[in-house]
């Protein structure tokens, strides 16, 4: 199965919506690549700069509750994908965003608030790795920590298949 993880960037706020992830003004693009420069352009978060080098190098996002709420736009997932981010770890996700992640063969991991607190406490130099056999997330920052997570078996199938289109084409 695909490997997930790498340098992680923390967005320490709840209810980050799809308009903040990729504003509607870019929805007229007909290619996924064209979205890439506009990642999190309208994010409302103190001290956040969408041009931050660390964000550009990130392979994973760590965030709080209800991530990806708002519109159904899969652009909000592709804009991460096209920035080489295919792992988002959050306290919870909005349904459509979560489904879009797995539909694209990407990984959305839910952890309780205490675990997210612990990851954030590891500091800004954070690296994540995922063991999809054991359902464990390993975090390396100021020290090492690991966290068990639950994954819906069907979502695991989608990650394995490389997304819903491939799965559905094989099954239905």
């Amino acid at each position: 199965m695909k490997k997930f993880g790498g340098p992680a960037f923390v967005l320490d706020r709840s209810d980050i919506n799809t308009d903040e992830i990729i504003p509607a003004r870019y929805l007229t693009e007909n290619s996924k690549e064209a979205l890439a420069p506009h990642l999190l352009e309208d994010l409302n978060l103190d001290g956040f700069d969408p041009r931050d080098e660390k964000l550009r190098q990130a392979r994973a996002i760590v965030t709080r509750g209800n991530f990806g709420c708002g519109s159904s736009r899969e652009h909000a997932v592709w804009v991460f994908e096209k920035n080489n981010i295919d792992l988002v770890v959050a306290e919870s996700f909005a349904r459509i965003f979560r489904q879009n992640m797995f539909n694209c063969g990407m990984l959305a991991v839910e952890l309780p608030k205490e675990d997210i607190d612990a990851i954030v406490a590891l500091g800004p130099d954070l690296t994540l790795a995922v063991d999809l056999e054991k359902n464990v997330l390993m975090a390396q920052g100021s020290h090492k920590a690991s966290f068990a997570f639950a994954l819906n078996p069907f979502d695991r199938e989608l990650v394995r298949a490389g997304g819903w289109l491939a799965f559905a084409d094989a099954h239905y």
């Binding site: 509607a24 709420c69 159904s72 879009n100 539909n103 819906n152 078996p153 199938e157 084409d169 239905y172």
Partner: protein
């Protein structure tokens, strides 16, 4: 144990059960618009999978930016238009016949009780007003829907929302749903279905039920749903009269979808809306809601009446009650966008368009436009809009702009005063003037 309406719909459409917690459902209708569909079409073409599962079950519209405003939006329209022609999608609505998807498709009778519906649009939950399971999805789900006529969902858990009491004059379905979102919070219903029941819902028109279900997603819900009844049957009658001997027969048939008395719910909430004031949002989240009286006096630059939430004829009538014989404030730009051509024509016939124009409103063609900050009324940074739409996210109607969500009556009263205003005194005055 009995079943909820959503469980009954799932049981009737189940194609596969990949795990006990997941269901793959057969779809009755796949809806499409020109913002999220072209990229799905392009992807299917690139994969050599440019097919549709059933052209009669696909309905498409160009509604978000119409007429096109630049080459990019023109291209999006063209991709959808060419695809609809290529696959002989008969129910395709282009300029001259187009309107906001969640207002247009129900008006055409496409949504029926017990149906499964998806669209690449989060406000697809609107169609639950007809007793359908209707969910917004992303592009990949849309592609699979178009190609295979199926979609996957988690096992449906339902929150039962029993609404009792009596709505006062000047208080509407919009105020009820804003209050519900405030109560549930923006993720209080995530992965859940919101089933709206009780005497207040029973007494609501189909249009009001659509307003109610439209904003279920703002509490995170997969779908809002109402039990199909005589009001549903009467609304759909022009489209179903070939299928049923009488409205009574349709009503009796629709009962098969009603939740059983012993159905299991994730939770049940009772809400008495007697005494509810008109509601207005104040922040950048749809659960940041206050009574209009505490928000009164907030300056606005623009008032927008339209959208899939509140751009239907009953909405326009309520706003016109306030605007009749009045002028909007000199500091305010008023924009009315009737949601569909049918709404527009009806408003013309009833003199409502004239009322709006004499009050100083600009009237646009039916389109989403300003609702998502794409055309026909985008805000400048620092500007404030009183809007009958459903989202007040930061930048939603234009970067740096602020949106206050409210009912059409509150928006109309606000337009007249130039500041957020309680519509009830205006409505009382209008009533007294009539007597």
């Amino acid at each position: 144990m009995g079943q909820t309406i959503a469980e009954k719909i799932f049981a009737a459409h189940r194609r596969d059960t990949p795990t006990p917690d997941n269901a793959v459902l057969n779809l009755d209708v796949v809806l499409a618009h020109e913002i999220t569909t072209p990229i799905a079409i392009n992807d299917l073409v690139a994969r050599g999978m440019d097919r549709v599962f059933d052209s009669a079950k696909i309905k498409a519209v160009i509604d978000h930016v119409t007429p096109s405003k630049d080459s990019k939006t023109a291209t999006q329209g063209k991709i959808l238009r060419d695809w609809a022609r290529r696959h002989q999608i008969k129910d395709f609505f282009d300029i001259g016949a187009n309107g906001v998807c969640h207002a247009l498709f129900p008006e055409k009778g496409f949504i029926r009780p017990g149906y499964t519906v998806i669209m690449g649009d989060s406000h697809t939950c609107t169609h639950g007003a007809f007793g359908a399971f209707a969910a917004g999805v992303g592009t990949t789900d849309l592609e699979v829907g178009i190609l295979k006529g199926v979609c996957s969902f988690r096992r449906p858990e339902t929150i039962k929302m029993a609404i009792t009491g009596k709505l006062a004059d000047g208080v509407y379905a919009k105020d009820v749903i804003l209050f519900i979102i405030k109560t549930l919070t923006v993720n209080g219903a995530t992965d859940k279905i919101l089933e709206f029941v009780g005497p207040v819902v029973d007494a609501m028109s189909m249009e009001a039920r659509m307003t109610l279900c439209n904003m279920a997603i703002e509490a995170g819900a997969t779908c809002g749903i109402c039990l199909p009844d005589r009001t549903t049957a009467a609304y759909l009658w022009p489209f179903i009269q070939g299928d049923y001997a009488s409205v009574d027969a349709a009503v009796a048939d629709f009962r098969q979808w009603h939740s059983d008395p012993d159905a299991g719910y994730a939770s049940t909430m009772a809400l008495d809306i007697s005494g509810l004031e008109p509601q207005v949002t104040y922040g950048f989240k749809p659960d940041e809601v206050k009574d209009v009286t505490t928000m009164a006096g907030t300056r606005v630059d623009q008032v927008y009446i339209g959208s899939c939430t509140n751009g239907r004829i009953e909405d326009l009538r309520e706003a016109a009650r306030i605007l009749a014989g009045r002028r909007i404030a000199a500091t305010v730009r008023g924009i009315l966008s009737p949601a569909t051509p049918k709404v527009y024509v009806r408003a013309l016939e009833e003199g409502i368009i004239k009322t709006f124009m004499e009050a100083g409103f600009c009237v646009t063609n039916p389109t989403c436009g300003a609702c998502l900050g794409m055309s026909n009324g985008v805000l400048a940074a620092g500007e404030v809009c009183a809007s009958t739409t459903n989202r007040n996210f930061n930048g939603r109607m234009g970067k740096g702009g602020m949106v206050h969500l409210m009912s059409p009556a509150t928006a109309a009263a606000t337009a007249v005063a130039g500041v957020i205003t309680d519509p009830r005194p205006c409505l009382r005055q209008a009533k007294e003037a009539k007597l």
